[in-house]
Amino acid sequence: MSKRLKRKSIAMVIVELIFVAILGVFLYQMQVNISANDQATELQKKIEPLRDTVEDAKAEAADHTESYDAMYRAKASTLAFFVQEKIGADEVTTAVMQQYRELLNVTNALIVEKDGKVVAEAEKTGADFAYARYNQLRTVFASGDTSEPFEVEREDGTFRYYAAEIDADTMAVIEQDPTELETLLNDTVTWESMLRNISVGSTGYAFAISAKDYTFLYHPDADIIGQDALDAGVNVEDLEDGNKVWMEIYGQKYLCSIANLDDAYVICALPEKEIKDSCNVTVLVVLLVFFAVITLLVTYAIFILGDQEKRKGRKKGVQRKIGKVYFNNFLGAKLGAMIVAGVLSVFISSLYMQQLFSLSSKSITNSQHIESLQATLEKYEGDVKMLEDQYDTRYLNKCRAAAYILEERPEFKTREDLARISKALDVEFISYFDATGTITATNSNYLGFQLSDDPEAQSYDFRKLLAGGEYVIQDAQEDEALGEYNQYIGVALRDDDGITEGFVQICVNPEKLENALTKLQIDSVLDGVQIGAKGFAFAVNKDDNTFAYYPDEKYMGRDVTEYGIKESQIHDGFSDYLTIGSNKYFANCVETDKYFVYACVPSTEIAAHKVPVALLSTAVSLACLLVISLFLCLNKEVAEENTVEEPDTTNDNETSSTMFDVTMPDGNTKSTRDISSRWSNAAIRWSEKTPEQKMTTVLKVLLGIYAVIICIAYVMQKQNPGNENVFSYVINGGWERGVNIFAATGCIFIICIVMTLTTIVQEVLRVLSNISSAQGETIFRLVSNFVKYASAIALLYYCFALLGVDTATLLASAGLLGLMISFGAQKLVADVLAGLFIIFESEFRVGDIVQIGDWRGTVVEIGIRTTKIEESSGNMKVINNSGISGVVNMTRQFSVVSRDFGIEYGESLERVEYILQQELPLMKERIPEIKKGPFYKGVTELDDHSMNIKIVAQCTESDRAQLILDMNREMKLLFDKYGMKLTSQQSENNSEE
């Protein structure tokens, strides 16, 4: 390599690094900008539906509160009724009030006069009802109805107050600890319940800051709730409705969108890290590809230039003068082809990475989303039970109160009185059944109704009460008699001896419970779920594969397969594209007790900026490549013509030893490797390699570097398992096996790694074999050979598995094995087995001289399938192992050349023997190849015309062929010298000692 070229290469490496840096910065900026813009819009879309969420939650809270209050207002009016009718006692004492309190199951029951004086109370109250604060209670005197509830927070606790008028001067007051209501509300309308299911990107979240005191009302980290937001780094200026802004919270930067709702700022925050990470991965991969391309380009160009210097003069006319500089035509053409390939690969890898990245992040987001949905659904299943129990308790309490009244005042079993009680208890109607199960008093239309004997009938349940049961709570159902949706509750009445004398049944309208329950149904859970800008969630019934919920109502209840979803796509953990109707979605699935819940995003939403980004990065890399190619191709002067430097002559000689030019069928001249060196164990020396071979080495090195990067990334990933990103997603294999981008990526990873490992193992084996015995070398070569095949087969198998081919069956029966056999793999198996036996039985080793059939030569390699033997003339024979039989192993220290020479009977044998005795030692001196001998062995044959004598000599195998010729010549000269005649009879036999 000339100094000029060295300078040029160093300059080029620097330029290359600069270009990689430029492209990196450029791509990164562009990507960050685009993603930040994208994400900001996305966040905006995400925060809008929150307004509805808050509205819904408020409505739900109002519902809960209303139903809670309705119950306690009914209790207040029941209490008033008790006092008015003097149920259970004529005088209201503390004891009586305590009894009422038990019956009504309230915190405190009181009777209060208009001016606030407490007449009777079950427990001492901390309230001073004279205060204007309690004026609300006094409204009962004007309205005649129960009072609107209100809550007072005092030293002794928080209480909710309800009142009902007893008479013009007194009222019944219920003082209730509202913990139960608060618990219920906490589950539905707290910021936590509203915000915890909102996922922002994959690591972002929604939180709320009070607009009053700037504390965190909700944050996924429970420790932060209640902390000061200004303290955390939030800027007050930023907190404006509809704002999109970068915020720093506890030192981490987030892209936030803000909505001012209900005295609070709700903020969807996406960590900067996530936005950048997304860019990092894409940019990194594109950069790696670009780096590979530009490195190959530069090294190739330098190798070619070096080669050109070496072959100076051999290729004329490669330089063309353009102005003052020279353009290297030959190099230009080669580089042009490389640029096209390189730019194409940058384009493809850019597209590919963006697709991969957005799909994986969508998948991660989707799965997080449905996991939270799953949690919600599971929680709601518990809530349904809880809510039903709660309502049952409430209704049972009403029924007990009714039973109590009728026990105390049996005379109230009239239509009018029962109607009054119904009103006080706030139930539809009350019926009294006597001991025979017949309604004897009711304010409904069922008078005379008798309990059914049919176990199937609705009323049969209540027979239990007559048989000693204490109470019956029926589920709400269609009334068999009326066709209305009602719920019946019954409580047995006992006489003083405990004998059942009948039971009281109340009928309630379960509308409130139904309302509350519908909120917990799957549709209300999935309705309004927003995944990204246009994504949504839907559910499929497990039993019959119909849509249990879909945003478009016309789909609900229909069979999913009608709309293009395949059976194979309905399973837990599904994560791939699916088609619904004519739209393609990327979906993830999770299984719950009753449903398969899917989160899906329209395919059009995925990486919308793919093409522009890819085009831009391609354009930039094209520019870089062009510039660098121009640098490489242009020369100030034609260096070759005038250089003093002579290429190393020994170099040239060595080049010709293994490398030489062949003419390809299309007329091109290519350098190729000499046959004898192809299987030889020695690596070609770097300087002997053609530029193409050097490139291959560079490519292998790059591949190795990438494999190392992948391995390092893998190890790092394993050490922080919590960190979910595109890489971990591909590695953890949470994606669908099939022909998709993840499988392809997985294949690339594994190919990269396995190929590198194979190369390394082979290299190691080669080095080992160099320092080992012949037996060792045979084994190492075999192992190397084996590694090659094994890795290829393993790769094939693994990649097939990733691509969703059922490898088990493929291997087992109809698949690979069947194919192998049917395509003549039997022969292959035979070859492999034969190969193994050759080695284990030590028939011959690498380096042995063997004769197989009529082919004699040195064993170069024993492969798993073939054996290669080099003939003394340098030709290479490749024999299938199964075809190796009748091996003659002639490996000795020396080969023996044995020649028979025919002598006429007329010659004196004694003379001949005498001459030979004199001359043979001289012959040895003339032919230095002879190691031992030549010896005269005697007469081998006496045939019709001549007697044959045998001369043998020992030499090395490589000299054997020549020695035969030399000996023939020497013998002829010898016989001529002594005037003897040789007959034509001569034969060669070298198998004898």
Binding site: A132, R133, Q136, T139, E153, E155, K212, D213, D228, L230
Partner: protein
């Protein structure tokens, strides 16, 4: 900062610069001590965990100090009870503490132009069924001790003809007028708590404070009591008075104060 170095190293230039009016002599390199409130969210609010003050008045104080050429600002929390004395004693250079401009106060202090105007509001519990000012007759109204909301309310009610301004008795924490009792409580929290428990029937507070204590169960009684104008108070005829007034006026004119109010709204 650069300006300060120059001033330190070049005493001669100091006079020139101060003549130009950019940095007065009294401010150079000194710390402005400001009396602020610590209990009014969005105005002057002290966060115990950080030991810092937040709010519109805090931001204003910082900007004023910057404008006047002070190098640093120190905040001292003042209460309505003690803020007058704090300034008179010179413990603080000025008060930016929701201190309303009144004639009596003008006798003792200099005030800047008003940077914020607020209404005094009367807040009641909805459950008390009190909806108009007449309903407050013979009721108890709570105010914060040390503020002038109580006397002003009494005065207004008298003008309204609801009460006669006869001081029947004044005992410790309350003043009984003929027709209304006004209770003075030690903190806004206490006022709010008393209102919740019913020991007072209505609370009379400055609008911005009332807003902080407002909730769904409470409402305001529509009644015009007074407009309070908050100004920066400085010691009578001090050298800070005039520049402070100018600076506040400047911030009023260029919208700085409007922006601050908007920020903390």
């Amino acid at each position: 900062m650069k300006r300060k170095y120059i001033l330190k190293s070049l005493p001669l230039a100091m006079a020139v610069v101060s003549l130009l009016g950019t940095t007065p002599v009294y401010a150079a390199g000194k710390t402005l001590t400001v009396g602020v409130r610590g209990d009014i969210m969005n105005f002057g609010y002290y966060n115990e965990t950080t030991g810092k003050f937040y709010g519109m008045e805090i931001d204003l104080a910082n900007k004023l100090a910057d404008e006047l050429g002070y190098s640093d600002v120190e905040f001292k929390q003042v209460e309505p009870d003690n803020r007058k004395d704090t300034l008179l004693n010179g413990d603080v250079d000025c008060l930016i503490a929701a201190y309303s401009i009144t004639d009596t106060r003008l006798e003792n202090f200099d005030f800047s132009p008003a940077y914020y105007t607020d209404d005094t509001k009367i807040m009641v519990e909805k459950s008390s069924q009190l909806t108009e000012i007449q309903d407050l007759k013979d009721k108890t109204v709570g105010t914060l001790a040390g503020v002038n909301a109580g006397p002003i309310l009494a005065q207004k009610l008298e003008e309204n003809g609801m009460i006669t301004r006869v001081l029947e008795e004044k005992e410790g924490d309350y003043t009984q007028y003929d027709g209304i009792r006004i209770v003075q409580l030690e903190s806004y929290d206490a006022v709010s708590k008393a209102l919740e428990e019913g020991t007072i029937d209505a609370a009379c507070m400055d609008g911005m404070i009332a807003n902080a204590y407002w909730n769904d169960d409470r409402e305001y009684i529509p009644f015009d009591i007074t407009e309070q104008s908050y100004g920066v108070a400085t010691q009578k005829d001090s050298e800070l008075s005039a520049p402070m007034a100018e600076a506040v006026q400047k911030f009023l004119d260029d919208g700085t104060i409007a922006a601050l109010i908007d920020k903390w709204d």
